[in-house]
Symmetry: C2
């Protein structure tokens, strides 16, 4: 026996999402049956609208409703600094910190030979063009994740940008604030010792 | 800074689902941006259709596209037995076992005084009417979950049905097949000893 078709289709759709298997998809599908009709309609509309109405900023590559994006259009932001991140969620994390006031560049991925992802698959070319065209930029902060792929991507970009005389920096690695040395992994501890600062 | 409105709305919608917080909702929303357009359209359609096209069977209370449901309409099923479950997902689990060929009755919940759920909030009255009207029914198997609420609901239904002379049974409790006695909880172990069978 199968579930009636309308719910079976909904379960299938939920199962296309990452980390959601059959059991969770079933639970979610049944949950939506009991939701307010308006909430379900808004959910359906939001799915369609997100894909239809969002585009990537032609300057920084961040997702946006209008091109160029809000940040690229804002003259009050520090035009001398560009922070390079892997994806749009990282832009949001940085913005929530509220202490960075420069510009961004979103790569939409990292170099990953294992997955067949080379420099032409991520937004590196547009970063280089941007740096060439815009003489105001004095520093590129590379904020890719502290994974092997993130590190390799940081190294790759750094080598391409440095010859132009623009300063290239990388986010500091070390112990997370509030964390225990006892539970830190060896690489983190090594980075913390290596990058120690004078008090 | 906020995410652009289309994605912010989608994140809000995902957050209405059970067990999905802000971080997961964001991850899912961004994932849908990269999905095939058809998949997203189907997802949106399935959400709307599930709520619009499904109803509850007027006999057993199971979700169905047509009323009465497939099982209630099927003359080849054993008309003498009704298995009472908490929700439609339990019907599916029983059907997947393939060894039960009787009818069902879906309560859509359990008695739970803590949540203000009394007998009138679940499908008990319809079960009693059904048993009165249909003289073919000889046994009611109560398959509510083995939780305090499930047990209380089983007891309540059993007291109402027994006087009519219909046999009332409850699913067996004991060790799960393939499980270790070492890891079984005390209540399960107690039920396993109490319900031991002769070899």
């Amino acid at each position: 026996m199968q579930y009636p078709e309308p719910i079976a289709k909904l379960i299938d759709s939920f199962m296309k999402l990452p980390g959601i298997g059959y059991k969770t998809a079933t639970r979610l599908a049944f949950f939506t049956l009991d939701m307010e009709k308006d909430d379900v309609t808004n959910f359906a509309k939001a799915l369609i609208s997100a894909q239809r109405d969002l585009k990537f900023c032609s300057i920084c590559g961040n997702i946006t409703e209008e091109d160029p994006c809000e940040i690229c259009q804002d003259p009050s932001r520090d035009q001398k600094t560009v922070l390079v991140v892997e994806d749009s969620k990282d832009v949001m994390s940085m913005e929530q910190m509220k202490e960075y006031h420069g510009l961004y560049h979103v790569l939409h991925g990292v170099l990953s030979p294992m997955d067949g992802k080379g420099p032409e698959d991520i937004n590196i070319a547009s970063l280089l063009t941007r740096l060439q065209k815009n003489e105001a930029i004095e520093e590129v902060i590379i904020a890719t994740n502290a994974t092997p792929e993130g590190e390799a991507t940081a190294m790759y970009i750094s080598r391409l940008v440095k010859p132009s005389g623009i300063k290239v920096t990388r986010l500091a690695h070390g112990l997370a604030v509030g964390s225990d040395i006892e539970y830190a992994d060896q690489m983190t501890l090594y980075k913390a010792v290596e990058g120690r600062t004078e008090m």
